[in-house]
């Protein structure tokens, strides 16, 4: 598993090069990766349908509980098969859709990067790797939405998606960390055994809120849904793949994955049902008001994600079966319809449903794909979509609370979705053909094979639900709800649910016929939405930028004095606080009895020189005073058994003074830039700092350091390095590498000085000319 995941990232890096080698076949070659993954995953179906969950362990960082463990059970297998299966179709489709595009090689890279990360998300057993893969999908989504980064809208949408999902991701990380803290493990499969503890823990509510923030932002739940329609700026294969079939379902996945861990308390179910319910109705209603094919599909995707969250919220055998079946169905038909929309856009140059019509004559294969998807979408037998819808109704009528109300909500949503299915999947192909920006030609095989294949799968699974029910859906339901799944059948007999389906269909067609009227009313609805969550987002973003500007202006004001004050304030604050808190003050002992007279004299001269350099108004005076201090330091080194230091200090100080004098004698008299008040303030701060350092020194001196390193050097200096001067031996032998670094620094300084002087010489020449 790990090898396969890593291969994916390698393939993402290699993709541009492969494309350069064989531009014609790169799509087919790169398809092989998801196909390989898909085939490999199929091998797990026997185990998983037997009720096993397979844990593939790779130790990575066991001390921190970060392991690359992968969990294959019904839930992750269903997701992973969708991701790799549709992924293969998308890569192939993209090779036709973006044929000859300048940035196609890069696109392949991003796409494979996303695909691999997404597989990582659903297969991870460890919360840390889950989070990392999760964020990687956000980043690849950012890169793919901003693929046409020349347009401002793309950049805006990409950043918005990144900020919304990234912000949610951070909250999720906090939630997951708390969760692992409560459960005492970072493994998701182990956390499932702790559900009773977690459900009754005091921190349950914050954990739930933070994790759901991550899930809701990723899966575009109200009030975070706004980024998804904007993300339609991405090339259509991306919309089909990331923003309908896979990435946006990561939130749904997370909720499903954590249902066995956190699904105990009522509040979990109520929150999910509430937000999912709002989202599903709102998304479907907003879709009707759109006229861009992709935006219609985006809003219906929001609605579909709402349905899944809603169903997971309701919980129980029927609801979870419905959710997982719907997940599969939705990926098939919505992925297909997006590909259809892309093909229409590619062939006609427009996505506006108001001018599209009669395309069936020009795009026969696309029409077949679109109709199959639309039928599944509208929930018409014998397609899989029908089964999913029946399951949803069966769930809602059996609810213990408010079955009537929730059934009406579900039916209304589905009616709206049927109307949009007709708008997208039927309307553009029939009726009178109107002239479009480009005259349509039959689409190439790369563009129609995907939708047709996905559409056919919808039919096959509808006719033979056994193909998916035992191998995927039943184990999936088991993984989420720990119950057997409801039976998937096409024909339940003449019952109330069938009647609801009929009502939905008739209602949907009626709404479609009235779209003109509905749209005019919906536009007011859209106006209300304009002051909705997206406006809050913009306000928040503006506020953030303004705050960042203000605080940067304050802290980074270009004045050295301020910067130095910040450093000093932190140093003094922390040091004085520590001194006062630990009461080491009493330890300090001043002992001046053993001071020799000449030592005292030197120190007094040094202090006086330092003071002189402070008050001196002439540059030379200040430099000379500095030299005095330096030579004083050298003398002290000589007194206290450091002859090497004394020698070095003497020569260096001499050089410094010579250099300073050479350079600064041309400087004008030292000006004073500060008012008396500021100078007094500076003096107080300086004295305080100096006193603090003296105290710190005295405190440190109370506990002389015991260095084993020094003893080692003393013992081995002669024996190993054959040198009697231990300091020299340390520099050139024991710590020779440090000295190398030191020489490098000096060399750099020399080069810098040389360049600066050279620069001046050239300037002079230019001036002379």
């Amino acid at each position: 598993m790990l090898t396969l995941i890593l291969t994916g990232f390698l393939a993402a890096i290699a993709a541009p090069f492969i494309h350069k080698l064989t531009p014609r076949f790169s799509g087919v070659i790169l398809c092989l990766y998801p196909i390989l993954f898909f085939a490999w995953l199929l091998g797990f179906i026997p185990n998983v349908s037997a009720g096993e969950s397979v844990l593939l362990e790779n130790q990575w960082f066991p001390a921190m509980g970060v392991n690359l463990n992968f969990l294959v059970d019904g839930l992750s297998l269903t997701f992973a098969l969708i991701i790799s299966g549709i992924g293969a179709i998308i890569v192939f489709y993209a090779s036709g859709y973006l044929k000859g595009h300048r940035k196609l090689p890069r696109f392949y890279g991003y796409l494979l990067f996303f695909m691999t990360s997404m597989l990582g998300v659903v297969l991870s057993d460890n919360i840390f790797t889950l989070f990392i893969f999760w964020e990687m999908t956000s980043i690849s989504s950012y890169l793919l939405i901003g693929f046409n980064h020349e347009t401002e809208k793309s950049r805006y949408a990409a950043l918005q998606a990144l900020l919304v999902t990234g912000g949610g991701g951070l909250a999720m990380l906090a939630g997951l960390l708390l969760l692992s803290h409560i459960g005492g493990t970072t493994s998701l499969s182990e956390l499932m055994n702790q559900s009773a503890l977690i459900g009754s823990h005091g921190l349950y509510l914050p954990v739930m809120i933070m994790i759901l923030l991550g899930a809701f932002t990723k899966s575009a739940q109200w009030p975070f849904h706004f980024w998804l329609p904007n993300a339609m700026e991405a090339p259509t294969p991306v919309s089909a793949y990331l923003h309908s079939a896979t990435m946006v379902k990561a939130g749904v996945f997370l909720i499903a994955r954590l249902t066995p861990v956190m699904g105990g308390p009522e509040i979990w179910h109520n929150t999910l049902a509430l937000f999912g319910g709002i989202t599903m109705v709102m998304g479907a209603a907003m879709a009707i008001g759109q006229h861009d094919l992709k935006r219609i599909l985006a809003y219906t995707t929001v609605s579909a994600l709402g349905i899944m969250v809603f169903l997971l919220g309701l919980g129980g055998k029927y609801a979870v079966t419905a959710a997982i079946t719907f997940l599969l169905v939705h990926s098939l038909y919505k992925g297909g319809l997006f590909l259809v929309a892309g093909a229409i856009d590619h062939e006609t140059g427009t996505r506006d449903i108001r001018i599209l019509g009669g395309l069936r004559k020009f795009l026969p294969m696309i029409t077949i794909g679109a109709l199959l998807a639309a039928l599944s979408y509208a929930g018409i037998p014998p397609l899989l979509g029908f089964i999913a819808k029946e399951l949803i109704y069966e769930t809602s009528i059996q609810l213990p609370l408010n079955p009537a109300f929730l059934t009406i909500v579900a039916v209304t949503t589905n009616m709206l979705l049927v109307a949009t299915a007709i708008m997208v999947g039927v309307r553009p192909f029939f009726g009178k053909h109107k002239e479009t920006p480009k005259h349509p030609h039959p689409a190439p095989v790369t563009l129609w094979i995907g939708p047709v294949l996905l559409g056919l799968l919808g039919v096959v699974f509808g006719l033979y639900p056994g193909l998916v029910s035992d191998g995927l859906i039943a184990p999936g339901v088991m993984a989420v709800a720990q119950t057997t799944s409801a039976k998937l059948t096409l024909w339940h007999g003449f019952n109330f649910v069938l009647l609801l389906s009929l009502i939905t269909l008739v209602g949907g067609i009626l709404i479609f016929l009235l779209t003109g009227f509905v749209r005019s009313h919906i536009s007011t609805f859209n106006k209300i939405a304009a002051v909705g969550p997206e406006a809050w987002y913009q306000l928040l973003l503006k506020g953030l930028i303004r705050f960042a500007t203000l605080q940067t202006r304050f802290f980074q004001n270009g004045r050295l004095r301020s910067y130095f004050f910040y450093i000093l304030a932190v140093f003094l604050g922390l040091t004085i606080y520590t001194i006062l808190r630990t009461k080491v003050f009493d330890m300090i002992a001043m002992d001046l009895t053993d001071v020799y007279f000449y030592e005292l004299l030197i120190v007094i001269i040094m202090l006086a020189s330092a003071y002189l350099s402070v008050i001196s108004k002439s540059v030379l005076g200040a430099v000379a005073a500095l030299g005095m201090v330096g030579f004083g330091v050298a003398l002290l080194f000589a007194f206290y058994s450091a002859p090497d230091l004394a020698l070095t200090q003497f020569s260096i100080e001499t050089l410094t003074v010579i250099l300073l004098v050479l350079v600064v004698y041309r400087f004008p008299k030292l000006e004073n830039y500060l008012s008396t008040r500021l100078r007094v303030k500076d003096a107080i701060v300086s004295v305080l700092a100096g006193a603090t350092l003296t105290i710190v020194t005295l405190i440190v001196l109370q506990s002389p350091p015991e260095s084993k390193i020094s003893d080692y050097f003393l013992e081995n200096s002669y024996a190993l390095a054959h040198g009697r001067n231990v300091v020299n031996v340390i520099l050139v032998d024991f710590r020779a590498l440090d000295t190398m670094g030191e020489i490098t620094v000096l060399a750099l300084a020399v080069m810098g000085v040389y360049v600066l002087l050279k620069f001046r010489a050239r300037k002079k020449e230019e001036n002379n000319q």
Partner: protein, 117 residues
């Protein structure tokens, strides 16, 4: 005598800070040099302050003759002195260039790198 050196370190430190705060580019260099002196002395004092006990090995025994000064801080300070010189030399030339090119000695006016918008 450690106490005496502690006072010296504090005094040098205070002078250094006062000079760095003065906004004058020359005073800034001098302040930084003083700061370097104070720091070197601080490390030195923490090491050991013995009179006339340089860390030299006796040729006959191959060992140090009794208690000697700690060689490690001395090695560290030696490196610090040399590197400090490299930095100072570069800064001095740089400042001289600044003075010749734009003729500004007030560090508050050298702020174009930190301006934004």
């Amino acid at each position: 005598m450690e106490s005496l050196l502690a006072i010296l370190i504090g005094g040098l430190f205070a002078c250094a800070i006062y000079m760095i705060l003065k906004r004058h580019i020359i005073k800034l260099i001098i302040g930084l040099s003083l700061l370097a002196h104070a720091c070197n002395l601080l490390i030195f004092v923490i090491g050991s302050t013995l009179r006339g006990k340089a860390p030299l090995i006796d040729e006959v025994t191959g060992q140090a003759p009794g208690v000697v000064a700690d060689p490690l801080p001395q090695a560290l300070i030696l490196t610090a002195i040399v590197i400090g010189f490299g930095v100072t030399a570069f800064t001095i030339v740089l400042i001289q260039q600044v003075n010749q090119t734009i003729g500004i000695q007030d560090t508050d006016q050298l702020d174009s790198c930190d301006k934004f918008d």
